[in-house]
Amino acid sequence: MLNILYIELFKLKSSKMLWLIVLGAFFPGLISWWGAFYTMSKGHPMPVADVLSNISYMMSLVLAPLLFYLFTAYIVAREYQEKTINHLFTYPAPRWMFYLGKLLTMLVVITATFALSYVAMVVMALVYNGQEVTVELVLQYLLLQVWMIPVHFALIPLAFAVSFVSRSYVAAIILAIVPMLLTSTLLSSSSPYNVLFPWVAPYFVFKTVLDNELVNLVAMSLTLLVTFLIPFLFTWFYLEKADVHSGS
């Protein structure tokens, strides 16, 4: 299994798609810190905690789902578009292993994105105003970033299912954009049923970690579990049964 994970990561060598990790990790920070330094220059400095909150919010609710779905679509759809799928399933390893390899690759991508983002946040916070950077704040954001990894990973099998069935990037991008738009609508409604919509989960993590608000974590976890398991199993069986054509 480790061999297959290594190979999946190796396939990304020199790939431009790796820039998505950089984009996901640094773009929200770039925007937020630019704003923070600008207001500081005008004599109205923003508190560090607010800047960090903005970065995390932008990253987890807006950018990350789109980037991770795009990345998922890339590592699946490329096998069909480059016609490597004709070869991938003619090795002495079951198809589910390649699926798990790709799934774990996404776990690595998500972890790397949040880890880089966290390091950048802390460094920039120290540069911006070191006095406000407390151990408590650093640990709080560490906890937030660590939480975000399984939350975003739970949303990934759906993107895998859509990408394997459609064999293209487009469907996964639509899948990322539609929930992103729905999330903002749902958040403005503050319905108690929001917790059943898995893409709202990062918001609840914010509330729990940053604002110490009580959220129905059990319902949220169950929603994420179902969101993970159903498409995960679907893709597993789909790959075992589906005929392999490279789209020709």
């Binding site: 061999n3 297959i4 290594y6 190979i7 190796f10 396939k11 990304l12 060598k13 020199s14 790939s15 431009k16 490329r78 096998e79 480059e82 016609k83 490597t84 799928i85 004709n86 070869h87 399933f89 003619t90 090795y91 002495p92 390893a93 079951p94 198809r95 049964k241 005929d243 392999v244 054509h245 490279s246 020709s248």
Partner: protein, 306 residues
């Protein structure tokens, strides 16, 4: 000779359309099996079924003496393949692409990568990313990958697609060498008759999903029997002479004034004498043989080269 691959009544149906119908074929060790058919005849679907990429609707596949009912039962480490245009990861080099293959095949030694690249003439381009490769180079790299793990059976789907004449010649020679020197059994699909003619020891002809014929190449050559082609001024009179005076029934008037005679062809002089005796002007008399292309056209009722 032991059977390496055998299919029995292999069928693949997609809703209303039957892509492959009751295809039975046998590959023996050492064969270069030419799997001939026009585009869309069902060649690639058949090969995909052999590799477990497509699940047959019915029928059996036997590989190296064992019946295969699921992809996981296929001994992939004993098979090398190219299906359609070989696919590679364009962002990484030829060596890295082959290294992925090496790792997935569970091979420890990296030396075989260089050997394979050398065999297909790509050693100089080994560190170039595959996105810089032409279609012909990708075909050759596909062959290098198929050979890397030293398979006993090579399944090659149209391996010369995209190659220039020089590349086609080199690939043909490579395939012949693999069969002769390395004793690799080769299943080679093509829609180009001349390609099969120059390599195959066994030929299977598929048309509209059905296997029309499966014979050793020599038998196929024999089937393309010799005939006498005679150009005369009056074919009706010539026919009368053939039937009534020479007792020859196996002839065909293929066009005005041109007759093909399929029996007693060794008696060309006698036939000529008789024609002259009955006042026929014989303009041309020659011994000919059907080309495989003509035979293929007769068999499929279509063009020789799809």
């Amino acid at each position: 000779m032991d059977v390496i691959l055998r299919t029995r009544n292999l069928t693949k149906r997609y809703k209303e359309h039957t892509a492959v119908r009751d295809v039975s074929m046998t590959l023996r060790r050492g064969d270069i099996y030419g799997f001939l058919g026009q585009n869309g005849a069902g060649k690639t679907t058949t090969l995909r079924m052999m590799l477990g990429l497509v699940q047959p609707t019915s029928g059996e596949i036997e590989l190296f003496g064992n019946k295969v009912t699921a992809a996981r039962q296929i001994p992939f480490e004993r098979i090398g393949s190219i299906i359609e245009i070989p696919g590679f990861y364009p962002n990484i080099s030829a060596v890295d692409n082959l290294d992925i293959h090496r790792r997935l095949m569970g091979m420890g030694n990296r030396d075989s990568i260089e050997e394979s690249l050398d065999a297909v003439g790509l050693l100089a381009a080994r560190n170039h990313p595959v996105k810089q490769f032409s279609l012909g180079m990708k075909q050759r790299l596909g062959l290098a990958r198929a050979l890397l793990h030293r398979p006993e059976l090579l399944i090659l789907d149209e391996p010369t697609t995209g190659l220039d004449p020089q590349g086609i010649r080199e690939t043909r020679q490579l395939i012949l060498d693999l069969a002769l020197k390395r004793k690799i059994t080769i299943l080679l699909s093509s829609h180009i008759l001349s390609e099969i003619e120059q390599m195959a020891t066994q030929v299977g002809i598929i048309h509209r999903g059905r296997m029309l014929e499966e014979v050793p190449y020599e038998v196929l050559q024999e089937k393309n029997k010799q005939y006498l082609e005679i150009h005369v001024d009056n074919d009706r009179k010539a026919a009368m002479v053939l039937e009534q005076h020479l007792r020859i029934a196996a002839y065909q008037i293929i066009q005005l004034g041109v007759i093909r005679i399929y029996e007693r062809i060794e008696e060309a002089a006698v036939i000529n004498q008789q024609f002259v005796r009955f006042g026929l002007a014989v303009r041309e008399l020659s011994l000919k043989r059907d080309s495989l292309e003509e035979y293929f056209m007769r068999l499929t009722g279509g063009r020789g080269d799809a």
